[in-house]
C-alpha cells in the first residue's frame, strides 16, 4: 500500500508541475491571447538556472564549468527571474507584431535553446547534462515522508499561481489583458499601451514556467536536454485545451487529467496483456482526447465564465448605470 501511495505521490508531483506550466500558458493564451509555442524554453531556463546556482562547483571530470552552491530558495528565485528575462528578450521583437510571429519565434527559441543545451558543454554539461541537483530540506525531513513533503511544496506553488490567476480575473490589469485578447483595436482606442500589457503578461506567464522548471530540477535532481523537448509545450497545450483556457481551475484540472491519464495507461499492459502497443497508443490516445474535447467541449471541461456587464457591476458594487 505504501508503495502504491508513493507512486501516486510521484504522479501528483509531476501533475502539479504541469499545472504550474499550464497556469503560465493560461496567462499567455487564455487571458491575453498570446500564441506561445515555446513554453518549454522558459521551463528549461528555470530548471538550468536553479541547477547551476545551487550545485557545488564542478570537479575536473565534469563538463560544465559553473556551480555556485547557493541555497535552494535563491536558486528557485533565480530560475524564475531568468525565465522572466528571457521572456523580455523574446518579447521585444515579437510582441509588437501580430500573434503569428510570436508563435513562430517562440517555437524557434525553444529549439535553439535545446540545441544550445546539447552543445554548450561548459554551461549545461551538454548531452550528458547536470547531476546531483540538491533537494530542499533533504536532511531535515525524514526520508519516508520526503516525497509527500515535496508534493506539498509543489502544491503550494500551484496554489500561489492559482491565486494569482484568480486575482487576475477581477483585477483591472486582467481586464485589459482580456480586452487585448478579444479586440486589440478597441483596447488601443481606449488609450491602452497594448505592447506594454502584452509584455507584462508574457513575462508573468514565463516566470510561472520558470518556477515549474525550478521545481522540476529539484525533483528530478538531474537535467539533460532530452527532458526539454517540444512535447512538453504541446502536452501543456493539451492540458489547457482539455481543461479550459481562460480558467485557472481548468488549467489545473487539465494538467491533472493529462498526467494521470499518461501515467494510468502504464497499467494497461499488465491488465490486458497488450504489451508493446501501449506506449505507442498512449500518445495517440492523448491526441484522441484533444479531438474529443474540441468536438464536444470546445471550451474545455471548465470553460471560462463570461460575466455580463450587469453582473460585473453588481459584483463590484457599482450598482450599474
Amino acid at each position: 500500500m505504501l508503495e502504491q501511495l508513493s507512486f501516486v505521490t510521484s504522479v501528483l508531483t509531476v501533475a502539479g508541475i504541469y499545472a504550474i506550466l499550464a497556469l503560465g500558458l493560461n496567462v499567455h493564451w487564455g487571458e491575453t491571447g498570446l500564441l506561445n509555442f515555446g513554453h518549454v524554453a522558459f521551463f528549461a531556463v528555470g530548471a538550468y538556472t536553479t541547477a547551476l546556482l545551487t550545485i557545488a562547483a564542478p570537479t575536473a571530470t565534469q563538463a560544465y564549468s559553473f556551480g555556485f552552491g547557493l541555497p535552494i530558495p535563491v536558486g528557485i528565485l533565480g530560475g524564475i527571474l531568468a525565465a522572466g528575462v528571457v521572456a523580455v528578450l523574446l518579447g521585444v521583437p515579437t510582441l509588437q507584431l501580430s500573434e503569428e510571429y510570436l508563435a513562430i519565434v517562440s517555437i524557434g527559441l525553444a529549439e535553439i535553446l535545446r540545441y544550445g543545451m546539447m552543445n554548450e558543454n561548459w554551461l549545461t554539461g551538454g548531452v550528458a547534462g547536470i547531476y546531483g541537483v540538491g533537494r530542499p530540506l533533504r536532511g531535515i525531513v525524514p526520508g519516508e515522508l520526503y516525497d509527500l513533503f515535496y508534493l506539498g511544496l509543489v502544491l503550494a506553488a500551484v496554489a500561489l499561481c492559482w491565486a494569482y490567476s484568480r486575482r487576475l480575473k477581477r483585477s483591472p490589469f486582467g481586464r485589459v489583458l482580456r480586452s487585448i485578447r478579444d479586440d486589440e483595436e478597441a483596447a488601443v482606442a481606449l488609450g491602452k499601451n497594448t505592447f506594454q500589457y502584452r509584455m507584462q503578461a508574457f513575462v508573468v506567464g514565463a516566470m510561472m514556467a520558470g518556477l515549474a522548471g525550478a521545481l522540476w530540477a529539484h525533483y528530478a535532481t538531474a537535467l539533460t536536454p532530452t527532458a526539454f523537448g517540444a512535447s512538453i509545450t504541446f502536452l501543456t497545450w493539451v492540458a489547457l485545451i482539455v481543461g479550459g483556457s481562460g480558467n485557472a481551475g481548468g488549467a489545473i484540472l487539465g494538467a491533472g487529467l493529462i498526467i494521470s491519464f499518461r501515467e494510468a495507461t502504464r497499467y494497461l499492459p499488465d491488465l490486458y496483456g497488450l504489451g508493446d502497443i501501449i506506449p505507442t497508443l498512449r500518445l495517440m490516445l492523448v491526441g484522441v482526447l484533444v479531438v474529443v474535447a474540441i468536438r464536444y467541449r470546445p471550451e474545455g471541461l471548465l470553460p471560462e465564465r463570461n460575466i455580463s456587464y450587469a453582473e460585473y457591476c453588481r459584483r463590484l458594487d457599482y450598482g450599474g448605470d
Partner: protein, 408 residues
C-alpha cells in the same frame, strides 16, 4: 468594495469537485501487484527514433527469462518481465522507473540508454534497486557506478583506449586525432588522446569535424600540418568516406586508424587501395555461446541479433544469478552480488549451471553471449577488441587487443 470576494455558485463547485474526484479516482484505482514473486523491469525506449533498442532488447531479455524459468526461476519463483517505455526522454524515464520500483517492486532494472540513464540513476540509488544497463555506453558513467549502477554495454571510452593501443603497438609515436563533433565522437576522441599520452606518445593535433559537410579539406590540412604517421578518425561511414577520399586526393601520407563504425565490408571495398594498410577497430566475433544466442534470437525475431541484444541477455542472466547468490530477490540484497557473480569463480555460461554451482557453495564467474562479462569495481565492463587491417579491398583481422591491455 465588499462585493469583491468570490461567490462560488453551487454548480461550479459541484463540477469542480466532481472533476477533482474523478482525477483522484483514476489515480487511486491504479492497482498493481508488488512484492510477491520475482520481476525484472525492462526500461528502454519503445517509441521514437530509437524504438528498435527497446523492441530488440526485449526479445533478448525474454530468451534469458525463459531459460531462467525453465531452470526453476529466481530463488524458486518464476521471473516476470515488466516493460516500461522511456521515449528516450528524461521525464518519461523518471516516471517509468518510479513505477517499476514503487509499484511493481522489481528486483532489478534492465536498461536504459545513455540518453536517460544518468537522469534516473539517483532514483535507483535512493531506492536501492540495481540498474544493469545493456545499452548505455556514455563515458560519463565511467566512474559513477559500482553500487547500484552497472552495465554490460561497453563504455565509449574503451574504444578510444583500444585505438591508442593500436597506434602504440604498431610503433607510431606521433599521431593526430580527428572526430565528429557529437557526444559519442567527442568522448571517443578524447580518450584516444588521453590514452595515447598515457602510453607515452605525442598527439600533434586534434580536429573536430562537423558531420554532414561536403568538404573537409581545411580540417585535413590542419590535421596533417605536422605530418603525423597515424591519424585516428572517429566518424560514421558517410563522413568517413568523404574525409578519406579527400585525403587521398591531396596525397597527405600516413595511415588511418578507424573507429568501429567504419569496419564494414562495403566501406573497405568502396575506398579500395586508398585504405590499404590502414587499421580499424572491430568487435571480436563471439564464441559458441553467442552463436547459440544468435540462433535463438533469429528464430524469435526473424532477423539477426541487433546491437546490444547479447548484452541485454547477459544483463538479465547476471541479475538472476546475483539474486541466486544473494538468496534473495530484494534489489538491495542482490545489488551487492552483481560484480562478484561476473568474475572470480567457476566459469558458468548458463543460469542452470550457475544456480547449481552457487547451491554447492561455489563462487561463479558468468561468461555470456557478449563475451566474458567481467565487471570492474565501478560496474563497467572490460572488453576485448579485434584489430583489422585493409588489404586494399577488404578488412582482414590481424590482431586482437585483450581486455587487460585497456586498463591504464
Amino acid at each position: 468594495m465588499g462585493g469583491r470576494e468570490t461567490p462560488i455558485d453551487r454548480r461550479s463547485f459541484l463540477k469542480t469537485t466532481a472533476a477533482a474526484g474523478a482525477t483522484l479516482g483514476v489515480a487511486g484505482c491504479l492497482g498493481g501487484s508488488g512484492g510477491e514473486g520475482a520481476s525484472l523491469g525492462v526500461l528502454q525506449p519503445f517509441t521514437g527514433e530509437v524504438s528498435w533498442v527497446g523492441e530488440s532488447s526485449e526479445v533478448a531479455v525474454n530468451i534469458a527469462v525463459d531459460e531462467i524459468n525453465e531452470a526453476g526461476g529466481m530463488n524458486g519463483s518464476d521471473v516476470e518481465i515488466i516493460t516500461e517505455d522511456t521515449e528516450a526522454n528524461q521525464q518519461t524515464a523518471t516516471s517509468a522507473i518510479r513505477k517499476l520500483i514503487d509499484s511493481d517492486g522489481v528486483s532489478a532494472i534492465l536498461g536504459p540508454t545513455s540518453f536517460t540513464l544518468p537522469a534516473v540513476m539517483n532514483i535507483a540509488q535512493e531506492s536501492q534497486v540495481p540498474i544493469i544497463s545493456p545499452t548505455a555506453g556514455t563515458s560519463v558513467l565511467d566512474d559513477m557506478g559500482g553500487e547500484y549502477v552497472f552495465r554490460t554495454a561497453m563504455s565509449d571510452s574503451l574504444g578510444g583506449r583500444a585505438m591508442a593501443r593500436i597506434a602504440y603497438d604498431n610503433g607510431y609515436d606521433e599521431i593526430a586525432v580527428m572526430y565528429v563533433d557529437n557526444q559519442g565522437g567527442r568522448s571517443f576522441g578524447q580518450t584516444v588522446i588521453d590514452g595515447f599520452e598515457a602510453l607515452g606518445g605525442t598527439v600533434t593535433t586534434d580536429v573536430a569535424l562537423t558531420p554532414g559537410k561536403s568538404s573537409y579539406r581545411s580540417e585535413l590540412t590542419k590535421a596533417f600540418e605536422s605530418d603525423p604517421e597515424f591519424v585516428s578518425l572517429t566518424a560514421g561511414t558517410e563522413t568517413g568516406q568523404i574525409v578519406i577520399e579527400q585525403w587521398a586526393e591531396q596525397d597527405l601520407g600516413g595511415v588511418w586508424g578507424l573507429s568501429d563504425d567504419m569496419q564494414t565490408a562495403t566501406f573497405a571495398e568502396e575506398l579500395g587501395s586508398n585504405l590499404e594498410g590502414s587499421y580499424a577497430l572491430g568487435p571480436l566475433t563471439g564464441g559458441d555461446k553467442y552463436d547459440e544466442f544468435a540462433t535463438e534470437y533469429e528464430s524469435r525475431a526473424n532477423e539477426s541479433p541487433q546491437p546490444f541484444t547479447a548484452e541485454a541477455y547477459d544483463a538479465t542472466m547476471l541479475a538472476a544469478l546475483a539474486a541466486q547468490a544473494a538468496e534473495s530477490n530484494q534489489g538491495s540484497d542482490l545489488a551487492g552480488q552483481i560484480i562478484s557473480a561476473s568474475r572470480d569463480g567457476d566459469v558458468v555460461t548458463s543460469f542452470e549451471a550457475g544456480a547449481d554451482a552457487l547451491g554447492n557453495g561455489a563462487n561463479i564467474d558468468y561468461n555470456g553471449a557478449s563475451g566474458p562479462v567481467d565487471l570492474t569495481d565501478r560496474g563497467n565492463i572490460l572488453s576485448a577488441f579485434a584489430v583489422f587491417q585493409s588489404t586494399g579491398s577488404a578488412w582482414e583481422q590481424t590482431g586482437e587487443i585483450p581486455a587487460e591491455d585497456l586498463e591504464f
